[in-house]
C-alpha cells in the first residue's frame, strides 16, 4: 500500500485551476511549447524559484482563457502565462 500523497496525479501547472496547491516534481521545458528555447525557459523558471520540492499555489487567474496565472512559490508571487507554466510538473 502506498501513501495517499504519492498517488496524487502529476500534472503540468499550466493546467491547474485556481486554488490548486502542490509540490513541484520536475521541470520539463520541451513539452511546453514556449517561444523560448528549452534551456532558456528552464533557466528562467529556476531563477524565479520554480525548483523541485518548492510549494506552489495558484492564487489568481486572468479573464481571457483563465490566463495568465498568479502562482505563490514559497513566499513570493509570480505571474506566468499558462504556456510557460506547462513546463512545471506538479503533484
Amino acid at each position: 500500500m502506498t501513501d495517499t500523497h504519492d498517488t496524487r496525479r502529476e500534472l503540468p501547472l499550466g493546467l491547474a485551476r485556481r486554488g490548486y496547491t502542490g509540490i513541484i516534481q520536475h521541470l520539463s521545458a520541451k513539452d511546453a511549447g514556449s517561444a523560448l528555447s528549452d534551456i532558456e525557459l528552464e533557466s528562467r523558471l529556476i531563477e524565479l524559484g520554480f525548483v523541485e520540492g518548492a510549494r506552489v499555489e495558484v492564487l489568481h487567474e486572468g479573464l481571457v482563457g483563465r490566463d495568465p496565472i498568479a502562482v505563490r512559490v514559497d513566499n513570493i508571487t509570480i505571474a506566468v502565462r499558462r504556456r510557460e507554466a506547462m513546463a512545471i510538473i506538479v503533484a
Partner: protein, 624 residues
C-alpha cells in the same frame, strides 16, 4: 595620505531596494517604485563614510542572474564583470536582498561569488521582515555564505548606519586582501538548480519563516486580481484619474489664469506701447503663461501615477492586461513601459529595456508615443474647455472629463491596433513571447518619495516652460511681429509678418483637415514639444488681437475656430509626432535613424488621416 576612491556597486534581484539604498547613501533622487524593473540605467553617486573615506557607488538595474537576457540586465552584467568599456570593476559589490524573500537573492549571491569580487550581503527591508516575524541568524548566514552580512532599512533615517560602518571596516582591509580570480561563466541548468538547492539549504539553516504571511496583500489581491472585478477596478482607477484631472485642477487653474491676466493687464497699463510691451504681454505672458496654467493638472496626473507605482499596483495591472495586450501581439512586460508613457514617452521608451526580445521591444518603442503623454494635456484641456460644455451626463459624469477619457482610450486603442498590424504584416511567424513577472507585496506609499517625485516632475515642467517653451515663444513672437506693417496699412499688423507668410504658405496643405494659418504656424515650433502649440497659439492670437489686454486663449479659440476645426485638432494631437525629444530617444534606443523616421512617418500619416476624417465628418454633421 589620501586614500583612493572606493568603488561600490549595488547588485540584486529586481525591487529589492537598491535605488532606495542608493538615494539614502548619496542623497540622490533617483526613481523608486514598487515593481520590478524600475531602474534601467547605470547611475553613479558619491558619499563619504563616517571615517571619511570617499566612496563612489553605482546603482544598477535589478537582475536574477548574470546571464544578461535583456538590455537592462546586460548593463548590470557588464558592469560587474568589468566588461563595460572605460569602467573600473567595483572594489566591493553590495548584494542587496529583500529580507522577506531571500531565496532568489542568495542564489544570485552564490553566482556572484564566482566573479571573485569582494562582496557584502545587505539584508534590506529588514523592517518589513521583522514586522512579519521573520528572524535571520545573521552571524550564521555570514559564516555559511563566506561574506559579511548586514541589515538595512533604506527608507528610514539612519537605516543604513550598519552598512556605513561595515564599509569603513572592509575598506581598511580591501587593499591587503588578495584579488581573487574571476571564474564566472554562465551557469548551466544543472548548476543553476544546484545553486538554488544550496541557497534553500542555507536559508533553511539560518532563517526562520513565520506562519503569518502578508494577509493584506492577499486580501487586496482577492479584489484587484479578480478576473472580472479586477478589470472593473482598473477601468475605475483610470476613469477617476481623468475626472480628477478636470474637476480637482479647475479652481487652481482659474487662480493661475486670473493671475496671468492681471499680470498682462499690469504690463499693458504700465509699459509704453511698443515692442517691449508686446514682447512681455504677448510673448511671455500669453505664450509661456498659457502653458504654466496647466501645472495643477500635471501635478494631479503624476500624483496618481506615483501613488499607484509606490503602492505596488503596476505589476497587477500588467497581469490583468497581459492577455488583452497579447492579443495585439505585445509582450507582457510591455505594459509598464506603456503605462509610464502616460507621463512621458521618454521614460516609457527607456523602460522597454526590460523586454528581452528585440522585436517585441521594437514594437513597444514604436507605439509608446501613441500613449497620451502629459504634454498633450494642455492641448486637450485648452480645446475641450473651449468647445465642450461642462455639463454632466447621466447626472454624475462630467462631459469634459468623458471626452478626455475618450481621447486617452483612442490613444490606447490605436497603439494596440498598430502593434497588431506590425505583428501581422512584419513579424507574422513569431511565437507569443513569455510573460513572467514578480508581483511584489503591497507597500504603504512613502510620503516623502511621492512628494519628491511630484516636486521633480513639477520642476521639470516649469523648467521646460522656462527654456524650450520660452525660446520657442521668442521665435514665434519675433515671426509674428516682424516685419512691421507699412505706415498707413489697414489690415491687422500680423498679416504682414513672417508668421503669416509661413502659415499661409502651409495653409493649403492643412486646409483639408480644417486648420487655419495660425494653427499651421503653431505646429512648427510645436515640434519641439507638444504644449508649445498652446503657447504659440496664445502668442499668435494675442498679437493678432492687437492692443486690448490679452484675452484668455480659450475664449479666443471659441470665437475663431469652428467645432469641426477643434475636433480635428484633437484628432491630430492623438497621433502627431510633435516631440523632438521622443524622436531622439527612439533613435538612441533603437540605434537607428531608420526606425526614428518610420515612427515619424507613420504617426504623421495617422494624424493627417484622422484629422481629415474627423473634420469632414464633423462638417457633414453641421459643425463646420
Amino acid at each position: 595620505m589620501e586614500l583612493p576612491l572606493l568603488h561600490l556597486a549595488l547588485v540584486g534581484t529586481p525591487n529589492s531596494g537598491k535605488t532606495s539604498l542608493f538615494n539614502a547613501l548619496t542623497g540622490s533622487r533617483q526613481k523608486v517604485a514598487n515593481y520590478p524593473g524600475v531602474t534601467v540605467e547605470r547611475k553613479e553617486g558619491f558619499f563619504v563614510t563616517p571615517q571619511g573615506r570617499q566612496v563612489s557607488v553605482v546603482d544598477l538595474p535589478g537582475t536574477y542572474s548574470l546571464r544578461g537576457r535583456s538590455p537592462d540586465e546586460e548593463i548590470t552584467r557588464d558592469f560587474v564583470l568589468g566588461k563595460a568599456t572605460g569602467e573600473t570593476v567595483p572594489d566591493l559589490v553590495l548584494c542587496v536582498a529583500d529580507s522577506t524573500n531571500l531565496r532568489l537573492t542568495i542564489r544570485l549571491l552564490l553566482e556572484l561569488k564566482r566573479t571573485g569580487r569582494p562582496m557584502v550581503l545587505v539584508l534590506n527591508m529588514f523592517d518589513i521582515a521583522s514586522r512579519r516575524g521573520i528572524s535571520v541568524d545573521v552571524a550564521r548566514l555570514a559564516k555559511e555564505l563566506g561574506v559579511p552580512v548586514v541589515t538595512s532599512i533604506a527608507v528610514r533615517k539612519g537605516g543604513t548606519a550598519d552598512l556605513l560602518a561595515l564599509t569603513d571596516e572592509i575598506s581598511a582591509k580591501l587593499a591587503a586582501e588578495l584579488q581573487q580570480e574571476n571564474n564566472w561563466r554562465a551557469l548551466s541548468v544543472a548548476e543553476l538548480r544546484a545553486t538554488q538547492r544550496e541557497a534553500d539549504r542555507i536559508i533553511g539553516d539560518c532563517v526562520s519563516l513565520p506562519a503569518r504571511p502578508d494577509t493584506w496583500t492577499a486580501r487586496i489581491d482577492a479584489v484587484v486580481l479578480h478576473p472580472v472585478g479586477g478589470l472593473v477596478v482598473l477601468a475605475l482607477i483610470l476613469f477617476v484619474m481623468f475626472q480628477a484631472v478636470f474637476a480637482w485642477a479647475q479652481p487652481l487653474m482659474d487662480l493661475l489664469n486670473n493671475g496671468f491676466d492681471a499680470l498682462g493687464e499690469f504690463v499693458h497699463a504700465t509699459l509704453p506701447t511698443g515692442l517691449v510691451q508686446s514682447f512681455l504681454q504677448n510673448g511671455v505672458i500669453s505664450g509661456v503663461g498659457s502653458v504654466i496654467v496647466f501645472l495643477p493638472q500635471i501635478i494631479i496626473i503624476f500624483l496618481f501615477i506615483l501613488l499607484l507605482e509606490d503602492f505596488g499596483y503596476m505589476a497587477r495591472a500588467a497581469f490583468l492586461m497581459d492577455r488583452i495586450m497579447g492579443g495585439a501581439g505585445l509582450h507582457g512586460r510591455a505594459f509598464i513601459p506603456l503605462l509610464s508613457s502616460f507621463a512621458c514617452a521618454i521614460p516609457g521608451i527607456m523602460a522597454t529595456r526590460v523586454i528581452d526580445n528585440k522585436r517585441d521591444r521594437l514594437t513597444t518603442i514604436l507605439i509608446a508615443p501613441l500613449m497620451t503623454c502629459s504634454a498633450r494635456i494642455p492641448v486637450y484641456t485648452l480645446i475641450i474647455s473651449a468647445f465642450i460644455p461642462a455639463k454632466d451626463v447621466w447626472g454624475f459624469i462630467n462631459l469634459q472629463g468623458l471626452v478626455m477619457f475618450g481621447l486617452y482610450a483612442t490613444g490606447i486603442a490605436s497603439a494596440l491596433a498598430v502593434s497588431f498590424l506590425i505583428k501581422f504584416f512584419m513579424l507574422r511567424d513569431f511565437a507569443p513571447a513569455p510573460f513572467m513577472l514578480e508581483l511584489p507585496d503591497y507597500k504603504m506609499p512613502q510620503l516623502k518619495s511621492i512628494a519628491i517625485g511630484v516636486y521633480t516632475r513639477a520642476k521639470m515642467f516649469l523648467h521646460r516652460a522656462g527654456t524650450t517653451i520660452f525660446s520657442m515663444m521668442v521665435l514665434i513672437w519675433f515671426l509674428a511681429s516682424f516685419p512691421q506693417p507699412p505706415a498707413g496699412a489697414t489690415e491687422p499688423a500680423i498679416d504682414f509678418s513672417l508668421a503669416a507668410i509661413i502659415g499661409k504658405a502651409l495653409e493649403p496643405l492643412l486646409a483639408p483637415v480644417g486648420f487655419n494659418w495660425q494653427i499651421a504656424v503653431a505646429l512648427i515650433p510645436g515640434m519641439a514639444a507638444r504644449e508649445v502649440a498652446v503657447a504659440a497659439l496664445g502668442t499668435v492670437y494675442a498679437i493678432e488681437g492687437g492692443k486690448e489686454a490679452a484675452e484668455q486663449i480659450g475664449s479666443v479659440l471659441a470665437t475663431k475656430w469652428s467645432l469641426a476645426t477643434a475636433l480635428s485638432m484633437l484628432a491630430w494631437y492623438i497621433f502627431a509626432p510633435q516631440c523632438a525629444s521622443t524622436l531622439a530617444v527612439i533613435r538612441r534606443e533603437t540605434g537607428s535613424w531608420g526606425w526614428m523616421a518610420a515612427t515619424f512617418g507613420y504617426m504623421l500619416v495617422l494624424a493627417y488621416a484622422a484629422s481629415l476624417l474627423t473634420y469632414n465628418v464633423a462638417v457633414a454633421m453641421g459643425a463646420g
